[in-house]
Amino acid sequence: MMKNLNCLIPASGALVLLICATPVAAPAQWLKFKTPGIPRTADGKPNLTAPAPKTADGRPDLSGLWNNMRGENPPARGEEATESVLNYMPKGTELPLQPWAQELYKQRVDSQGVDRPSGYCLPHTIPDAFVHGGPKRIIQTPTIVAILYEQMTHFRQIFMDGRTRPEVTLPAWYGYSTGKWEGDALVVDTIGFNDRSWLDDAGHPHTDALHTIERFTRPDFGHLRVQITIDDPKAYTKPWTETIRFELAADTEMLEDVCDNEKDAAHYPK
């Protein structure tokens, strides 16, 4: 049977820690099939510095399977590796949290994130899914860009058909995303978030006023750069930006990760 290896729950100790790390690969399954049609070096390895591919209409093609590269400010050795937007920002960065949001963030840190939505099988959204480990696949078509996440086998849709922002009557976990090209950058504008997701596992909060702008660029074949601006005037005093870099994951595939019946939630301290 498929074992859910992502969340390891140590059974002992007064405080049960939930360690949701980068998904651990299950026994080899379609993991070693060579990705066809990609540039390779003389020794057969994927050539990650080859030029970025283009679509038939001359746009950069962002399609591929991507793994995030650790940020510039990863947790120090021995620290608990909580996935945080701060890992992708210069050391010492202080986010411009409103006082109430600062207080809520502190509560979440102090309680080791026990009410983290993913612990209840609820989605990792924006930018959370990019901050978090696990491969993501981008599929680019002229009218829609889909981002598939290995985690929870969830997906996100970005509409490229020229539609404008919708009038949001139904806030959603992934919000409503429209994309357009600015030169070689895919710029994705998202509104209509609900206020239930967290920006990261660390617990940075947001409200339903959240508006994100993501700029996707592919400087070469093997690398993707996503600059994310968080604009939520109800939770932050000013917009802020972080950049997450990804490396192409060649010769591998996403596994299935189904969050099975909220088995973690029962182990949270009350």
């Binding site: 049977m1 498929m2 299950a26 026994p27 080899a28 399954q29 379609w30 099939f33 990705t35 066809p36 049609g37 038939a56 399609s63 209840y120 099988c121 609820l122 989605p123 599929i139 078509t141 829609i144 889909a146 598939l148 929870m152 086998t153 969830h154 997906f155 849709q157 509409f159 139904l170 806030p171 959603a172 976990w173 992934y174 609900n194 206020d195 239930r196 409200t207 339903d208 595939e253 996403m254 596994l255 299935e256 189904v258 969050c259 099975d260 019946n261 909220e262």
Partner: protein, 265 residues
């Protein structure tokens, strides 16, 4: 902010009802005919199916659901046929209570079951993806890159799917299913031995048809085939439906769905 899950469920239910109405009666083996327009919505377009640059049919689009793949999978058999259940599987079907249905507990439908909500197909040269509005907002990936099945596959909800073209038919061969999901509300089981071969065609722009051969010697006495047919939903999009968000139904489900054949026996 107010929690909008109930609103979301209502919209989902309304959409599901509409899709039921839109469903062409009969089963997949019927000739493709333009279905009647539903009030306020145009009938699906009846032009030729689009093609990809390599000449293969393009299945991309948002598709409706086929109601025969929900209550009782026997509904999707040819008329007069019954599911060839082994005795233990028939017994288990009768014992399954609806509130234990994995689908009701926010787990994937597996194959060939469908949720009542729309789904999207996206094709690339190396992969085909099914994206589901229902079915826990999940997706299915089908490898089109020429790989063979893995030996000793780790069982999963959607199994390991390999696709290839047989003329204009997309043939998806899947093994490596877990034995957790039910085929339908009736509770028809299967085992990890299940092997499916799905054959998808797009006879015109507005329709997708398929037949699925199900071979599970662990639970059924012989292989059997189910037939599906759905309409393109032009100008529709997948909404977001997160089952885990506010799953209030399951606590109210009692007994078995009265529409199931086995529950009438």
């Amino acid at each position: 902010m107010k929690n909008n899950s109930i609103q979301s469920c209502l919209i989902g239910a309304a959409l599901g009802t509409l899709l039921l109405v839109m469903q062409t009666p009969g089963q997949g083996q019927q000739p493709a005919a333009a279905p009647a327009s539903v009030k306020g919505r145009p009938a699906p377009p009846n032009r030729p199916a689009p093609r990809l640059p390599d000449g293969k049919p393009d299945f991309a689009g948002v598709w409706g659901s086929d109601q025969h793949f929900r209550q009782d999978l026997a509904d999707a058999l040819k008329p007069g046929e019954n599911l060839p259940l082994q005795p233990w599987a028939l017994k288990l079907t009768k014992e399954h209570l609806s509130n234990d249905d994995p689908e009701a507990n926010c787990l994937p439908t597996g194959v060939p079951r469908m949720s009542p909500y729309p789904w999207r197909i996206i094709q690339t040269p190396t992969h085909t993806y099914f994206l589901f509005e229902g079915n826990i907002h999940s997706f299915r990936q089908i490898f089109m890159d020429g790989r063979a099945h893995t030996k000793d596959v780790n069982p999963t909800w959607f199994g390991e799917s390999i696709g290839k073209w047989d003329g204009d038919t997309l043939v998806i061969d899947t093994i490596g299913y877990n034995d957790k999901f039910w085929f339908d509300f009736a509770g028809h089981p299967h085992t990890e031995q299940m092997h499916t071969i799905e054959r998808y065609r797009r006879p015109d722009l507005g329709h997708l048809e398929w037949e699925t051969l199900i071979d599970d010697p662990g639970a059924y006495t012989r292989p059997f085939t189910v037939y599906g047919r759905v309409n393109l939903l032009p100008n529709e999009e997948l909404m977001e439906y997160i089952c885990q968000e506010n799953n209030r139904d399951v606590g109210h489900i009692r007994g078995k769905d009265p529409r199931n054949r086995e529950s009438k026996q």
